[in-house]
């Protein structure tokens, strides 16, 4: 089976603290692959390294056979990325931003215009086409970020926390856009800690804790009969009643 994305021994430290510890994952073509983990597990760091935005200390990432760090130009044409916590050029309007992104990728003007209009419409941003992105709500910003990532019709999407602060209606819209994309042969790698969404959307998951994968594979296999939520807590090593008898003063 060909792999869309291969993480091979990715390693990254920040000031001596290990953020990602020899992470290896194989993401099959046509899958929706969820990367789960508690806060600080190294999800965002891995996503940034996979998308060529953060140089790993060691290890390789391949997208459809192209090494992201050895052959960045060829690899970057194959995937689209929507990172979390990095700004967009938010003094541009939604339409201007999409046009800018399309032109950065040397796409022809009419194609950009056609796709931008369609993406804005499908994502429910048509009314906000001429609104400056700085004025967008958090959910709208996530959606325009997704549009930026999809504009050049990449074969792989790398999305960091795509559903963070997105309302249920918008989340449903984004889900149907993503499932149409996967039905058309695309692959999605996304990080998240919204278990219900991941369980519903992803056919494969990996659970990362302290930069290492503790479980990876088909969602049903990883769950092992439990709900994904329970399994995740079990892997992360968290009990349900860790507080004991603390915080007495909070009781009124």
């Amino acid at each position: 089976m060909q792999h869309a994305v291969v993480f091979d021994g990715l390693f990254k430290t920040f000031g001596g603290r290990v953020a990602v510890d020899r992470l290896s994952l194989q993401i099959p073509v046509g899958s929706v692959y969820g990367v789960l983990g508690p806060n600080g597990a190294g999800k965002t760091t891995s996503m940034l390294m996979a998308s060529g935005l953060l140089r790993p200390d060691a290890g390789r990432v391949e997208v459809l056979g192209r090494d992201v760090w050895a052959d960045p130009v060829a690899a970057k044409a194959l995937f689209g990325v929507a990172p979390d916590g990095l700004r967009l050029f938010d003094s541009l309007s939604a339409q201007e931003l999409l046009r800018f992104v399309g032109e950065l990728r040397s796409m022809p003007g009419p194609v950009i215009a056609e796709r931008a209009t369609e993406l804005l419409h499908v994502l429910g941003l048509a009314d906000a086409a001429n609104v400056v992105v700085a004025d967008f709500s958090a959910g709208m910003t996530k959606k325009i970020g997704l549009a930026c990532a999809m504009l050049h019709a990449p074969r792989v999407l790398i999305l960091d926390e795509p559903f963070e602060s997105v309302d249920p209606v918008s989340a449903q819209t984004m889900r149907s856009v993503l499932s149409r994309y996967v039905a058309g042969g695309g692959t999605v790698v996304m990080s998240s800690h919204v278990m219900e969404l991941v369980e519903a959307v992803c056919d494969h998951v990996a659970v990362i804790v302290r930069g290492r994968p503790l479980a990876a594979g088909r969602t049903a296999d990883v769950r092992g009969g439990m709900s994904l939520h329970e399994r995740f807590l079990q892997l992360a090593g968290v009990g349900t009643n860790e507080l004991g008898s603390g915080l007495q003063w909070l009781q009124s």
Binding site: G52, L53, K76, V81, R87, R105
Partner: protein
């Protein structure tokens, strides 16, 4: 509350110095400069104290200037304003009235505040000639120092807020250059006062400065010392009224600041028509950067500063007699060239992390450099051409051909240097957010170093062209040759800068993105 705020300011200062060496260096430089200013002030005090009352009145003009600087400096130099960010207090159950005394006192923690406090003490020494004058000086010191802080806070807050409303921003960009002109005018007044070198000539300067709002408080002890009690009373009343009005204004502004988090009102924009013109990454980067002059208040401020700072030294030449064809007419063009280089060197800092879009798209480094150079270069060139046309129309510049070669090569070389330098280090920019004057994330020393390099090195690189222009004399043919050679020389420098900067970005785009994280 005051103690808490002062402790907070000290903690922030200590942390920011410990974390960033460039900040530490800039702080040490600032400390040395501040100490030297204080020493000068103390020496001057010793002189003025033994002199006549008329001599000592120079202190009034000097302190009025200091007060004015408190208002103007944060507007002119983006990023020097290091006041506590009031937005951080919006979550706490605190009203403006409880914060204001503490914020005022905390403003004296820091080099400008400390230096101002020394000035206020010095003027007490200057006026300690009699008991009434000494008492007046103590009152004046308190009033004057408080006015400095409150005035600067009110003006920057008001302007910062209006910068986020589009119509108001347009007004502010028109008004600000006038604000820049104020120090120039005062300087002219003072120079006229000093030029006659007679002690009696200082008094009009003190009189004029004392009757401006900046000098109301400081003039009180002077009036008392020379026995003009009525004048002293009027000055005192005006000074107290000013402080009260400013404090009330500040309370209003602060109360609004504490209840609204993001006063952004950029709103709907008219989409630029999907022109069929040039497209592709280079044109896209240039077009976005040109749009930035209008859309990003921080860049609007940069443009206003460039125009105002370049023009101010040339204004007297337009009107003053005996300035025909003088070298001061060239100042705007030379300054704008250097400032174009500084802008280019700092340009990535204004993008912040949004620059990832270019990295993710795999845009080659030289395209990034060239796109920005195109936008900044065209803007500055348009300004230069406009200035030249006005100067030729006013008849203040006739020898335009002879100087065009050196000027053009200076602009191109400065842009090339900026392109290379800006790829090594993102430079400095005011923080994003509601206050376009807020402290820079990059630290002052780095900014000063960039400016120093950008103002100094191009002079050496342009020297051959200047020599050529001098040798060409009045021959039109030779002048044309020098212009062509200068353009080629400059273009060469520009190409090298773009190529070099591009190579640095190609090798280290992710590392640059990491540095940009400090700018948000």
């Amino acid at each position: 509350m005051a103690a808490v705020l002062i402790r907070l300011k000290l903690t922030i200062l200590r942390r920011s110095l410990g974390r960033d060496t460039s900040r530490l260096i800039s702080f040490v430089f600032g400390l040395v400069a501040g100490a030297m200013v204080c020493l000068g002030s103390i020496l001057a005090t010793a002189g003025l104290r033994s002199g006549s009352v008329a001599d000592a009145s120079g202190a009034v003009a000097a302190l009025a200037t200091v007060t004015m600087l408190w208002m103007v400096t944060p507007l002119m130099m983006a990023g020097v304003d290091s006041s506590l960010d009031t937005a951080a207090f919006s979550l706490l159950p605190l009203g403006a009235r409880r914060l204001i005394p503490g914020l005022t006192l905390a403003a004296f923690v820091g080099i400008p505040g400390a230096v101002t406090a020394v000035f206020a003490l010095d003027q007490i020494a200057v006026w300690s000639r009699s008991v009434p004058a000494t008492l007046a000086a103590i009152v004046a010191g308190l009033l004057g120092a408080a006015t400095c802080v409150v005035l600067s806070r009110v003006v920057t807050s008001l302007i910062a807020r209006s910068m986020w409303r589009r119509r108001a921003r347009f007004l502010v960009t028109l008004v600000l250059p006038v604000v820049y002109l104020v120090p120039l005018m005062l300087d002219q007044v003072l120079q006229r006062g000093h030029s006659s070198l007679e002690a009696s000539a200082v008094r009009p300067a003190a009189g004029i400065a004392g009757w401006t709002p900046f000098g109301w408080a400081w003039a009180v002890p002077w009036e008392v010392a020379r026995g003009a009690y009525a004048g002293a009373a009027v000055h005192l009343a005006l000074a107290v009224a000013l402080l009260v009005v400013l404090a009330v204004l500040w309370e209003r502004v602060l109360d609004v600041e504490l209840t609204t988090t993001a006063p952004r009102q950029v709103g709907t924009v008219h989409a630029s028509r999907a022109r069929s013109g040039r497209s592709g990454p280079l044109a896209a980067i240039a077009r976005r950067r040109l749009l930035g002059w209008r859309r990003d208040p921080r860049l609007t401020m940069q443009a206003v500063t460039l125009v105002a700072v370049s023009l101010i030294p040339a204004v007297p030449a337009l009107f003053g007699p005996g300035h025909q064809d003088g070298p001061s007419g060239l100042v705007p063009l030379v300054l704008s060239a250097s400032m174009a280089g500084v802008l280019m060197a700092n340009d990535l800092a204004y993008d912040g992390t949004a620059w990832w879009l270019q990295v993710a798209a795999g845009v080659p480094g030289w395209v990034d450099r060239a796109g920005r150079v195109l936008a900044i270069g065209v803007s500055v060139l348009a300004f230069d051409v406009l200035v030249s046309i006005v100067q030729v129309a006013f008849g203040t510049r006739t020898a335009w051909l002879a100087v065009s070669g050196p000027l053009l090569s200076a602009l191109l070389i400065a842009l090339g240097m900026g392109a290379a330098l800006g790829a090594m280090d993102p430079g400095t920019a005011a923080r994003r957010g509601p206050n376009p004057f807020a402290g820079s994330a990059g630290g002052g020393a780095r900014g000063c170093l960039t400016a120093l390099v950008m103002f100094g090195v191009p002079v050496f690189l342009v020297a051959p062209v200047i020599v050529g222009a001098v040798l060409a004399g009045h021959s039109t043919l030779l002048q044309c040759l020098v212009l062509t050679a200068g353009a080629l020389w400059g273009a060469g420098g520009l190409v090298v800068g773009i190529w070099w900067g591009g190579r640095i970005l190609d090798r280290g785009a992710p590392e640059m993105l990491g540095k940009l994280r400090t700018f948000g």
